[in-house]
Symmetry: C2
């Protein structure tokens, strides 16, 4: 019953990934190099992500706004660190019709420059603070190698940009939003992300520091899946974002930004999907239940229609597949699309008083009495699936989480099955560079309250400063 | 009590418009020429527009997807009519970092080329049809003169792109979506739009025909506020979008597109706002009710909190303004922001058993007994305001709708107070050009079932073919 169009993930993970993306109709390549079409099945997941995250942002007091797509070069140049970080990936508009523009403009790769330019005009006093603004939009980074959702030249994201009257409040916001991201991954995506601080080398260009959340994929590779940056006054000085504080003195504002992207869809696939296609955690599934009537039968139709309506009336997103495809085809399609629960209603089963439930995550078939088929049953099963998916991902993550004390151990783990590698670090960039020579292994994050697992740096043997998680990254 | 920062709309309509945009904090200019910042108050209206329109699209079977922002020149060139129409307004990317791109790419000004390129790959058989796809995104047109929301180089919109197996079905979709737009304007925005077909001269580049909905602004100027295009097989031939029909023969697909933009916010302002600021129809207002407690008083707070909760529990979007600004400041702020209903709760009034309700649309103060202050009362008042706003807009529109039979009459109306000018037309472009000499007056739309109000063309006197609505346009 294996889906013939999908390569096994244990045989060729990269090919398996693109096979799943294509088979589940999440995205497709386009005539625009490095840019994808996010197809309806993929976009519906993004809409669900947006609706849940957006409601959470608003609950915390954030509001949305929209700034321009294009950034004039002179404006971008004000913050040197930022432009140097992004310069090679920026794409520039230089012509209109057949005429040259007076000044070239970059397509936003991120919007710090525009938000600071906006805040400069709109913040006068501490009474105007904090400003808790967010933007949902597209951004462009000219990546050399691209993969659907994982690394695309254009991608969709949200970027939060907040300004505060004190450093303490801004740092609290930086942490609070990272906590939201981790909550979202754990509770909604069923992904047991870890979080911590990026090293100086890996932090966002121009930030004082960067918090990150990191996911472990099925193949042991790590994925950065949301960052929250504390800028202190660096950007507000470059862009002159000042306010009058309570002591009636001018002060530069404290600034944070945080973002999460369509890359989350890549994480869902690489954590949960299998050789039969996509597997969606119920809380993020655009369609949670499919009911498949087998054969033309009044009783089958009656049950199918009434139960489908009952589910929808109770906020479970259910639909009936009553197309004229064969039942086998419908089963396979529901499976490849990752619909969490499939209900098969056949005339013969029904005569015996039975219906069949199939869990997508375990592919387990459960025959139950018609009388047991209630909204409560489905609600409970969706919750069970959500929890089990998280637990399995966590178990796998634990299995591939290693503690190492020297480079030999690190190399051995990376060669056998990579994962989250815990090791102490002296804080010296030279050691990060040395470790990168081992299969490109990088620091993922510094665990801020990490246990001291050794006294010495895993690389140079000097006094250890930080408990760092290392890994191979996408 | 007139808002000092807002010019009177009868004195200088253009200045009044930008004053309202600024005073209600809907949008602001940016360092990017011709591009605006849509501020939280403006963006919240857009979010509300999106949520209602999107739900309607989905109810009718449409799904959302996302195609790239950039269009390679070679792809764009395939459809000559389209590129000729848009060529002067296209902005081109030509460089990445410091390197030249091999081929320049335009920022989308509309996405027909990309959708056709996508459909070409994804449509094989009549069984794949129809495809009812929509995209919410930003587009860019390098306009020379810009005005916030009305005409901005970058704007936000939705663009529906549907493909059908028969011309009849595609034409039905073209009409159906125009009906949705008119429904939305009438029922949600309280704007009594008219609709009809564009003339050959005014239709969308490359379309077989264009349906449009047109709104009449307070000053008598017309605004195109949504278009739906029937392309027949023109684009599918240019982009090779073919399918195997039921007779097992290759056939080019039938294509429609339809779009509505952030310009709707301009229409809301220019139809409903007044010298005191924005006036929002309750169904599109992001916040429908503001409760303003006057003075610190336990009973005031108790009523304020409990009634606010009751409203929110009943899906009326209400909030309490308990900032430490003065009551007068809060009243003015609620007014300039266009909140449909303001409830003032003061200790003295309350002792007498009264609260004060203020309608934003009429600015009428209504003192009612506390016992009358119920969810039902507010629900009914919101409905009344919605209806009254539509009725007043319709009345004004009727007042400035004229029937003319010669150019002298037309000119007289345009000079006194412009509006929707009904007149017969022979169908000859020369007459359209001649009429345009009168204050730039253009055909807005041909009324498809329009009464025959004359036998002769208003311009040349030859035999009349169409009942056309003419007007001065934004």
């Amino acid at each position: 019953m294996k889906n013939e169009s999908i390569t096994s993930r244990d045989v060729d993970f990269a090919k398996w990934y693109t096979d799943v993306v294509r088979a589940a109709k999440l995205a497709d390549y386009t005539s625009v190099k490095g840019c994808i079409a996010i197809e309806p099945n993929g976009y519906a997941i993004w809409e669900k992500i947006q609706s849940i995250l957006d409601a959470k942002f608003k609950e915390l007091g954030h509001v949305n706004m929209q700034l321009p797509l294009l950034i004039p070069e002179s404006l971008f140049n004000k913050e040197k660190e930022l432009i140097e970080g992004f310069a090679p990936e920026l794409i520039w508009t230089t012509e209109v019709g057949s005429k040259k523009l007076e000044e070239r403009m970059a397509i936003r790769s991120t919007s710090e420059t525009l938000f600071c330019d906006y805040y400069k005009k709109h913040i006068k006093s501490y009474k105007d603070l904090p400003k808790l603004y967010n933007q949902w939009c597209n951004v462009f980074r000219y990546e050399k190698e691209t993969r659907p959702f994982l690394r695309s030249r254009e991608f969709l994201w949200q970027e939060g940009h907040t300004v505060h009257a004190t450093a303490a409040e801004a740092e609290q916001e930086t942490k609070r939003m990272m906590d939201v991201y981790v909550w979202f991954n754990h509770e909604i995506l069923a992904i047991p992300s870890i979080s911590g601080k990026k090293t100086e080398k890996e932090k966002f260009a121009g930030a004082e520091y960067t918090l990150t959340c990191e996911d472990l994929m099925y193949n042991g590779v790590c994925l950065q899946d949301g960052t929250s940056h504390y800028f202190g006054q660096k950007f507000s000085k470059a862009y002159d974002v000042k306010f009058t504080n309570k002591e009636n003195k001018d002060e530069y504002a404290y600034y944070t930004t945080w973002g999460k992207t369509t890359r989350m869809i890549a994480a869902i696939i690489m954590v949960h999907a299998d050789d039969f296609g996509l597997v969606l955690p119920p809380r993020i599934a655009p369609r949670q239940v499919v009911i498949i009537p087998i054969g033309k039968d009044d009783k089958v139709n009656e049950l199918t229609n009434s139960f489908n309506k009952e589910l929808n009336d109770n906020n479970i997103i259910s639909y009936i597949d009553d197309t004229d495809k064969s039942p086998g085809f419908k089963f396979a399609e529901a499976e490849v699309n990752g619909i969490p629960i499939r209900i098969e209603v056949g005339a013969r089963d029904l005569a015996d008083g039975n219906v069949t439930i199939v869990r997508r995550d375990t592919r387990e078939k459960i025959v139950i009495k018609v009388s047991e088929l209630t909204v409560e049953y489905i609600t409970k099963l969706l919750e069970t699936i959500q929890k089990d998916m998280y637990d399995r991902a966590l178990e796998r993550q634990k299995k591939h989480t290693y503690e190492v004390h020297n480079l030999e151990e690190m190399e051995k783990n990376l060669n056998t099955h990579p994962g989250f590698i815990h090791a102490m670090w002296c804080g010296d960039e030279a050691c990060e560079l040395r470790i990168k020579e081992i299969k490109g292994c990088k620091s993922r994050c510094i665990l801020e309250d990490g246990e001291k697992i050794d006294t010495k740096c895993v690389c140079c043997g000097k006094k250890a400063k930080h408990h760092v998680v290392w890994g191979i990254q996408y």
